[in-house]
């Protein structure tokens, strides 16, 4: 009996998709890959329960078939696309909200629930899950954990690990494990294996359920934008606000080029790009949230302090609102959503390094040099503060990529790799929100050195046959050695 026959027998034929057109649909995400690199899965499965996933993995284990699990397929670096065929597990069919404990401010969900579905479910309790990437309508909680993606509100609430209390996974042998501390908000017990899941890209197990910490919905939010003569000045300013004791909800520094990518609705309304002062090199979008009086006090103080940093408040609300719509509310004029318009010809491609705070400007200039060297059209850079109440940021160094041109995709890869390696040379990290995927696998040792061996051992414990998302994080050949 072939593994596909076994899947049909175990799940029922309605949960197994084999048609070439169906497999084609599940083979791509947002990452720039040439048509030649496109390898659709051999079979797509639509599980409904953890038991279904256990059945799938046991069959895959017995036949040594690759298993790649995915959610909304909005990844920007190919983390959830299969590169060796095999079984694609679509977890979006598992999107139930299992339990809301409003007193404890927690929710238990199946891993395929989108971030928006979770928020729709908990909103009546005046609670929300503040982990909010731009893809929140489509990005699932399982993917958010496995990719360790970014969040608009990271500077107040942190990244996904800050709200992940516990997760159920099915390992590469088909064992069901609960990792974490149930509904307790933190623990000092045992090794924190749950933390291994953040950015694991489904290489340790398929995440099937998660318990998440929620936060009370703030009554009021105020978003402003300030322009600075230098990116470094914006960083210094934020550092000063944190020292002053302000509780910032969102802080995003954009280079001036990047603003254009995020002001689609402004252009729709006024037929031109928003104008910012010619001297401005950095735009800081900053939000405060809470009770009106608290927000007003914090905002007023922040604006007062801004003068010390040669900053200027953007008075034209349409610019701020356009940017915020793009980043968070996604409230665009009907039939004029931003993405297709900005990507008519090319894909958005990015490197996501992390560098020491004081070297942001230096790295920005390197980004421009490297993009120009590889002859790529620059979208720009932004830095999102993503560590609770502290100055640490993720970086998005973005360019346009024509995915139909093998040469341009090749140049994009060289650009990505060069910036990733440079970040390590800057005493930073190669990834802050996209993880490693196949892209960084060949040179992961550069960042992790001897500890890479321990990572591989961890992988072997969870997935001894290496069937889970092969080729991601570690090269396939290496892993099997």
């Amino acid at each position: 009996m072939s593994y596909i026959d076994e899947l049909v027998s175990a799940l029922g034929k309605e949960k197994v998709l084999l048609d070439p057109s169906e497999r084609f649909v599940y083979g791509a995400d947002w990452s720039p890959r040439t048509p030649d690199e496109f390898v659709p899965p051999d079979v797509v499965v639509l599980p409904r329960t953890t038991r279904d996933i256990q059945r799938i993995i046991k069959i895959a284990y017995a036949h040594e078939i690759p298993v790649t699990a995915g959610g909304g397929l909005t990844g920007m670096l190919g983390g959830a696309v299969p590169i060796y065929g095999g079984i694609y597990v679509d977890t979006t069919t598992m999107n139930s909200v299992i339990e809301i404990d409003s007193k404890n401010q927690t929710v238990r969900v199946q891993a395929g629930a989108t971030l928006q579905e979770i928020n729709d479910a908990v909103q009546p309790y005046d609670l929300w899950l503040p982990h909010q990437p731009e893809s929140k309508w489509v990005s699932t909680i399982g993917s958010a954990i496995a990719c360790d993606n970014d969040s608009t509100f990271g500077v107040r609430y942190g990244k996904i690990l800050s709200c992940l209390l516990s997760a159920e996974i099915v390992t590469g042998t088909g064992e069901i494990l609960e990792l974490g501390h149930r509904k307790a908000h933190f623990t000092s017990s045992g090794y924190k294996l749950k933390d291994l899941l953040a950015g694991s890209e489904g290489t340790l197990g398929v995440i099937t359920e998660a318990t998440l910490k929620l936060e009370p919905i703030p009554a009021v939010r105020r978003v402003d934008m300030l322009v600075f003569p230098r990116m470094g000045a914006a960083v210094d300013y934020l550092s000063r606000l944190l020292k002053a004791g302000l509780c910032i909800e969102a802080a995003h520094i954009n280079c001036r080029q990047r603003l254009k990518f995020y002001t689609h609705s402004y252009k729709q309304k006024f037929g031109k790009d928003p104008e910012i002062p010619a001297w401005a090199e950095a735009l800081l979008a900053i939000a405060f949230a809470g009770d009106q009086e608290v927000v007003d006090t914090q905002r007023n103080y922040a604006i007062k302090v801004a003068k010390e940093f040669e900053a200027q408040l953007v008075e034209e609300r349409e610019i701020v609102d356009a940017w915020w719509a793009s980043k968070y509310t996604l409230d665009f004029e009907p039939f004029k959503q931003k993405w297709p318009d900005s990507q008519k010809q090319k894909k958005f491609g990015a490197a996501d390094p992390g560098v020491p705070v004081g070297r942001l400007e230096e790295f920005y200039h390197k980004f421009i040099q490297v993009a120009e060297k590889h002859n790529l059209e620059i979208i720009g850079m932004n830095a999102y503060l993503e560590h609770p109440n502290s100055i640490g940021f993720s970086l998005s160094c973005a360019v346009f990529v024509d995915y139909r041109s093998s040469d341009e995709v090749k140049r994009f890869r060289a650009f990505h790799d060069e910036l990733s390696k440079l970040a390590v040379a800057f005493e930073g990290t190669m990834s802050t929100f996209m993880s490693d995927t196949y892209q960084k696998a060949p040179y992961l040792e550069l960042e992790h050195g001897a500890s890479l061996k321990y990572m591989k051992e961890v992988k072997r414990i969870f997935d001894p046959k290496g069937i889970l998302n092969p080729g991601k994080k570690f090269l396939k050949e290496e892993r099997r050695r």
Partner: protein, 383 residues
């Protein structure tokens, strides 16, 4: 109307973007949870097909036709997604795919009877009995009231047309109907991919309407509304096409009708063709607010969820179609409403298939609430 190949750049853009924002409001995807049935997946299927990545298979045909063309995906996107799907269906038919057997019978009926319901042409005029409505003649009227086949030939839906006509009379509109000569608007042909037949019919229809010398065509059917509107605009005609709710709402707004307002909680379901695709949102709400205690469903206006009846889904995929109706009714019930008001014969029929809530036509609701009609809208039209 563009062919599928002409949309290639848009399909590439969707493939390149991959945002999937269309999935959230897609009633079919949210029920089936199969990505090939979301717009992002369907765009990919079209792209793969014209790139020669795979052949036409039953799964490809299913991806093309398992969609109500409700336009929810277009609300979140600047691409012409529903147009892609229409072109996809046309492409399949051109490439030798037989129309779905359920659709074939609809098409045969349109050809023979001028409606997809196998009803004789004479049935089109039954609803006007006793109303003393003149038949359209060149130069004799300002407005043609276009009844639309579904309400005209379905006895249970006749009352909504009667209500529309009576309200037009109250408004003092100089109107006529085309009686049994009223043609098919072509909506069904267009939605199931019969573009050639639609173009032929459109040319004839435009000529007919122009020959009457009218200023406006008023219809109570949202499908007819968007189809006729586009048809007349594409032909460069000066005849305006409008929906009955827009024609009548001013009577309510100007206080020209004495209304008995009910305390019953009612919600309004935006028909896709009237709301999202036709841009008519507020007039129906004004009418419901004036006649009952209005409550809004969370998914309203542009974000309204399709009832599941449209674009051949009801005939070809009845179970899915019923599931979509059940979802919409549960959204209505969650508001505490005991009646869903709508303004589309398809939505009305479809929502009635789900027990536990009353379904009312907008014009009937208004007429029943009008002083002198002596009817209590609390108890009317129970499903």
């Amino acid at each position: 109307m563009n062919s599928l190949e002409e949309f290639k750049d848009e399909l590439e853009t969707c493939f390149g973007t991959s945002c999937g924002f269309c999935e959230r409001g897609c009633p079919v995807y949210q029920t089936m949870k199969v990505k090939t049935l979301s717009m992002k997946g369907r765009n990919r299927t079209m792209l793969g097909l014209i790139q020669g990545k795979f052949e036409i298979t039953p799964a490809v045909v299913q991806a093309a036709f398992e969609c109500t063309l409700c336009g929810n995906c277009d609300r979140w996107c600047s691409l012409k997604n529903t147009e892609h799907t229409r072109a996809f269906r046309e492409y399949l038919l051109k490439h030798g795919i037989e129309p779905m057997k359920e659709h074939s019978s609809l098409l045969a009926s349109i050809k023979n009877y001028g409606n997809p319901w196998f009803q004789p042409r004479s049935a089109r005029n039954r609803w006007t009995r006793g109303l003393n409505i003149p038949k359209a003649a060149p130069g004799k009227q300002d407005v043609i009231f276009f009844a639309g086949c579904t309400s005209a030939v379905t006895k249970q839906l006749n009352r909504s047309l009667v209500a529309s006509a009576k309200l037009l009379q109250k408004a003092g509109v100089n109107f006529a109907t085309m009686g049994q000569d009223e043609p098919c608007c072509g909506s069904t042909l267009l939605r199931v991919g019969q573009t050639g037949a639609f173009k032929e019919l459109s040319a004839e229809n435009v000529k007919k309407f122009e020959s009457f010398g009218v200023k406006r065509i008023v219809t109570a059917c949202p499908g007819c509304y968007t189809t006729l509107k586009k048809m007349m605009e594409d032909a460069g005609s000066k005849i305006e096409v409008t929906h009955i709710s827009k024609e009548i709402a001013h009577l309510v707004r100007d206080g020209r009708l004495k209304l008995n307002k009910s305390t019953e909680r009612m919600t309004y379901h935006d028909p896709c063709h009237l709301g999202r695709l036709g841009g008519v949102f507020e007039e129906p709400r004004e009418i419901v607010r004036a006649t009952a205690t209005f409550v809004e469903m969370p998914n309203n206006r542009y974000e309204s969820r399709c009832c599941g009846a449209g674009a051949g889904l009801q005939s070809a995929f009845p179970k899915l179609s019923r599931d979509l109706a059940a979802k919409r009714v549960s959204e209505a019930k969650a508001t505490g409403a005991t009646t869903i008001v709508t303004s589309c014969p398809f939505c009305e029929t479809q929502l009635r298939t789900v027990p536990g809530i009353k379904v009312a036509d907008l014009m009937e609701l208004l007429l029943d609430a009008t002083d002198g009609n002596g009817k209590n809208n609390d108890t009317k039209r129970a499903s």
